[in-house]
């Protein structure tokens, strides 16, 4: 493999990492409050707003059920508005964030719903406000599960980021399609796949490690 190719693979990897990181951060910033809201706003919960909960739930489901490649194309005007362009790495962050947000919201909702309701009752019994219950009880207790959920979201984002390559998004997917597929360079395709596998493996291991460190529910030796 020529030095230029190796250089390209390195740059593409960096592009992919940038896209995933930015979309992950923005997606978490939007998805975390959304997830907390979804987990606490049904009737009888901490912030009861069952109708808003239902509407937000519908929007989240609709976004999640739209195939990613269609979402990318459908929101091109929005992408242009935000990123100034609809091609390239920075443009790809917009659809990636929009796809990641509802996903992250749902997995965080699940993580929070798994917290024992007895803890919420105990916190209420000693005079905690709903906000205090979220910050002092629900989030810390859900943290191991939230970490795993964000790991899952990051792995999905790596997959999605390869897909934006198909519409000129840059990154490893883009490289794989243009060189590996269109120019028929199997060694480039193989390298791209190998790098993606390593990324996913690395992210998953890191997430598992952090989650285990945060989880105090089992005895440590």
């Amino acid at each position: 493999m020529s030095p230029e190719l190796i250089n390209m693979i390195l740059w593409s990897t960096l592009d992919t990492l940038t896209m995933v990181a930015l979309a992950g951060i923005f997606g978490t910033l939007a998805g975390l409050p959304l997830g907390i809201f979804l987990a606490t706003s049904r009737a009888g919960e901490l912030f009861p707003a069952p109708n808003v909960n239902r509407i937000v739930g519908l929007v989240v489901n609709a976004t999640r059920s739209t195939p990613f490649i269609i979402l990318v194309v459908a929101i091109v005007p929005l992408t242009r508005l935000i990123a100034g362009t609809s091609i390239g790495t920075s443009a790809a962050v917009v659809p990636l964030t929009i796809a990641a947000t509802p996903f992250i919201a749902r997995v965080i909702e699940g993580a929070i719903r798994e917290v024992d309701q007895g803890l919420v009752e105990a916190a209420r019994a000693f005079g905690a406000s709903p906000l205090q219950i979220v910050w002092k009880v629900l989030l810390p207790e859900a943290m191991p599960a939230v970490t795993l959920a964000l790991t899952l979201a990051t792995v999905s984002l790596i997959g999605y980021s390869a897909m934006v390559g198909a519409v000129g998004g840059g990154g490893l997917g883009d490289l794989g399609i243009r060189y590996g597929y269109q120019r028929f360079m199997p060694e480039v395709m193989a390298t791209v796949v190998a790098v993606l596998i390593c990324l996913v493996q690395g992210v998953q291991s890191l997430g598992d490690f952090i989650s285990r460190r945060l989880d105090k529910r089992t005895r440590h030796s």
Binding site: A125, F126, L214, K216
Partner: protein, 361 residues
């Protein structure tokens, strides 16, 4: 409101918790009918007392205890804690009031992500106690519940009894006037239960802290309560001092609960042999409850001499309730109905509670 008895040790002091005609009705949902979880209850808890509420699951005791700290709001009536009408408070005032009402739980409800120290500190953080002042409150509490060496342990590293000790320390962190206990010993083994009961009694004595606990176990009532209320179907069917309830239970449910620990319940093998009618050659089976001063009197040998009859003891137990001896004996005696009536009259005259259960062949 029931009249307070000045002679009664459990009733000294002013009322700190009172229920005034309180009902809690859960509206019908989907296909289930509405539920009267608490039905027109009057109850007074004197300051510094330990009061037990016993009932089977579904009797309404969980709802009753949650009405005290406003986790449930009454449909009718008024719940007063230390002069505050709990139902009239807004959210903010209610949160403030809850800081003076501690609560412990059957499943401890400790945060798995926090150490023993940090769990006890949580109510203080929530109450806005300055960070620097927290160790000065938490450390003595850890000492008091005997867990100073477990300060930095997570709940997963503690035994059930230790977790409940953390729960108790956490409930006391904000210096409450009342401690509510929701089946706090029901998930513990008998030995640990005894330790937790001893700790609660000690806290009650040292801090003059009023304790109201709910349980389905009469053995816990026997060891812990000064006064007891028996609940069934959302109502209090009987209440009094623990000794009164044990020595003279009137309601069938109360009798069953009392029988669990006093041996007053007829054992199954005997139940199977009991016959309803007298026939020559059959022996009468009677149950005698010895209470108070009579508990140490040699009743059976006196009757044997006086009437020339022999008793065959089939089942018996002596318990101490509120430091009084309390015995139950089931015995059979060869006596025709006439003699039997005399025996029962004699026993009743000496203030024992006698019951004729049937006959055995």
């Amino acid at each position: 409101m029931p009249i307070l008895d000045p002679q009664d040790p459990g009733q000294q002091g002013r009322a700190i918790i009172s229920f005034d005609g309180v009902s809690k009705i859960f509206p019908s949902r989907n296909d289930s009918a509405e539920v009267k979880a608490v039905d027109n209850i009057d109850l007074v808890v004197p300051e510094g007392a330990i009061v037990g509420v016993i009932g089977k699951s579904g009797a309404g005791k969980s709802t009753l205890i949650r009405l005290i700290n406003g986790l449930e709001q009454p449909t009718h009536g008024k719940v007063t804690v230390d002069g505050l009408d709990i139902g009239s408070l807004d959210e903010k005032a209610l949160r403030q009031a809850r800081r003076s009402i501690g609560m412990i739980f059957q499943h401890f409800n400790l945060l798995s992500s926090r150490t023993a120290f940090d769990n006890i500190a949580l109510p203080l953080e929530i109450a806005g106690t300055p960070r620097k002042a927290i160790p000065g409150i938490v450390e003595p509490l850890l000492d008091m519940v005997g867990l100073a060496d477990k300060r930095d342990r997570y709940p997963a590293e503690l035994s059930g009894g230790q977790k409940q000790r953390v729960g108790i320390a956490r409930a006391l962190a904000t210096k409450p006037k009342v401690l509510l206990s929701d089946e706090a010993t029901s998930a513990l083994d008998p030995e640990t239960t005894a330790q937790i009961i001893a700790l609660l009694k000690q806290i009650n004595a040292d801090l003059n802290l009023t304790i109201l606990f709910i349980t389905h176990e009469m053995s816990v009532v026997k060891k812990l309560a000064q006064r007891v209320a028996v609940m069934e179907g959302g109502q209090i069917i009987e209440q009094g001092t623990t000794y009164e309830i044990f020595s003279k239970p009137t309601h069938a449910t109360t009798k069953r609960f009392v029988g669990e620990v006093t041996g007053g319940n007829v054992p199954e093998w005997l139940q199977a042999k009991l016959l309803a009618d007298y026939a020559p050659g059959r022996q009468a089976v009677i149950r005698i409850a010895f209470t108070g001063a009579d508990a140490d009197e040699p009743v059976l040998s006196r009757l044997t001499r006086a009437y020339g009859v022999d008793f065959n003891i089939m089942h018996g137990q002596i318990e101490y309730v509120a430091d009084h001896p309390f015995g139950t004996l089931i015995a059979s005696v060869a006596a025709d109905p006439e003699l039997q009536a005399k025996l029962i009259a004699d026993l009743t005259a000496t203030r024992n509670t006698v019951e004729h259960l049937g006959y055995v062949a």
